[in-house]
Amino acid sequence: MNRQYETVIGLEVHVELATETKIFCGCSTRFGGAPNTHTCPVCTGMPGALPVLNRQVVEYAAAVGLATGCTINQCCRFDRKNYFYPDNPQNYQISQLYEPICRDGHIDIDTPSGIKRIGIHEIHMEEDAGKLIHDEWEDCSLVDFNRSGVPLIEIVSEPDMSSAEEVIAYLEKLRLIIRYLGASDCRLQEGSMRADVNLSVRKAGSRELGTRTEMKNLNSFKAIARAIEGERDRQIELLEMGRQVVQETRRWDDNKEASHAMRSKEDARDYRYFPEPDLVPVLISDEWLERIRAGQPELRTQKLIRYKKEFDIPDYDAQIITSEKKLADLFEAASAICKKPKKVSNWLMGETMRLLKEREMEADELSFSPEHLAELIRLTGEGVINGSVAKEVFLKIFLEDVDPVKYVEDHGLKTVNDEGALQETVEKVLADNPQSVADYRSGKEKALGFLVGQTMKAMKGKADPQAVNRMLKERI
């Protein structure tokens, strides 16, 4: 029966910007303070306090707008959105309704049937709310304003998506762009990226839009996909039963895989927007806009084209490396130093990815310097350390960003390939393992491997395996 219907989806995506301070006051945006310690009169709505706009918020918002093909509104203003809720200290949120900073942009996503353009209706700047903690013991709620006033941009798409796959492709692309710009880390789980899904269904081929609902509380791509499918089925079922879809906001419960309406008599949804009298308009001059444009980093599409020309690495590697700006930055910086892009790529694609996965870390948490990776590649290339020592050193670089030259020196990890130092060990191994020597002599090639292993073990891994191999052969 679902074949007769098509789904129409638009997204409202909130992204917390990566500023040091809040949008309208100098309080820190850092996570993890004790409740209400990152607050001041402004972000707790004390009487008489006034907002002053953080310049960096405008720059990030405009940067995201430019990267998504938006027209920048060079005279934008703030408005008050009035509603009562305890996490909203002033009982109005400072946002933008009438003159948002960006309009009419788009993002191109890959779909099985080719590239699809998803329109962006607008991007506006606003302040985040505080956090409500529900106290089970006393059956009350507790308000913490540490997050209150953290800058957000809300990216409102056109209703151009028709499936969970498209929604996720759109979100992934959006996230990649914003992370590239450094405007946010866009983590769904931690709430620095949040998506509300507006969804309606209509008979296939119909031009008219159906009644839509808005789904909130979606904390992962999986939850988003499940919520979209659940809501689509719910609406189709209603229509099939001859009932109406009610325009409402619904809250998704991912544990129950079901949603419920968030309605209350006290919730009029009449926000009485009006221009914020405490803030003055933001005029973005052509020069300012040009400066922001000039400061934009190279985005992934351009990077992929350049990598093809500049670096001799497989397309697959380039795809993976450019999927995170952090990886791409490390790759480019380390390659520039050691001039061995393939080796850099190998370290990133291999050990780095493995360790990230093992430690459940994200690429933007990588903290080692490209210089140290380049040094490591040099040490390996020059035969100063062997492959297995290199892996051990890399782990230290990954964890603590140690200087590999110093580390190798301090821990005496240099490969021993000077024959004098090896000779004694080789001769001892030969003397201790007459059976293996005899086996080799009688044509059992494998026996040599055992002898090499014994020598390496005795040398604590620091010997050059090739040198050991050669010396053993000479002596047998």
């Binding site: 006051c25 209400n36 002053v52 405008v58 529900h134 006393e138 507790l142 308000v143 008599k265 006290e266």
Partner: protein, 97 residues
């Protein structure tokens, strides 16, 4: 044109403004609001075609702060004003069912 404010309107505005009026206050509010709106209708006589609304008395723009942390810790003094607090947070009636 005389404005007649209905009970529903007073109820609705009460929800928006979070005010709960007594029956007597409601009757008074209906009368006052009606009178005020009648009076405000005077503005309809004024031709404002093509006039830009004046949001700010003069054209200030681009007033910014730089992105530098400067918060102190006034939590305890701030919480001293709270009707109820618990563990450094403001205590309110339960917000979810």
């Amino acid at each position: 044109m005389a404005h007649v404010i209905s009970d529903e309107t007073i109820e609705y505005v009460g929800i928006l403004a979070k005010l709960e009026l007594s029956e007597e206050e409601k009757a008074q509010a209906k009368k006052d609001m009606g009178n005020m709106l009648d009076y405000m209708d005077m503005l309809n006589d004024l031709d404002t075609e093509g006039v830009e609304p004046l949001f700010h008395v003069y054209p200030l723009s681009n007033v910014f702060r730089e992105d530098v942390v400067e918060n102190g810790d006034e939590r305890d003094r701030m919480l001293a004003n709270a009707p109820e607090e618990k563990e450094g947070a403001f205590k309110v009636p339960k917000t979810v069912e």
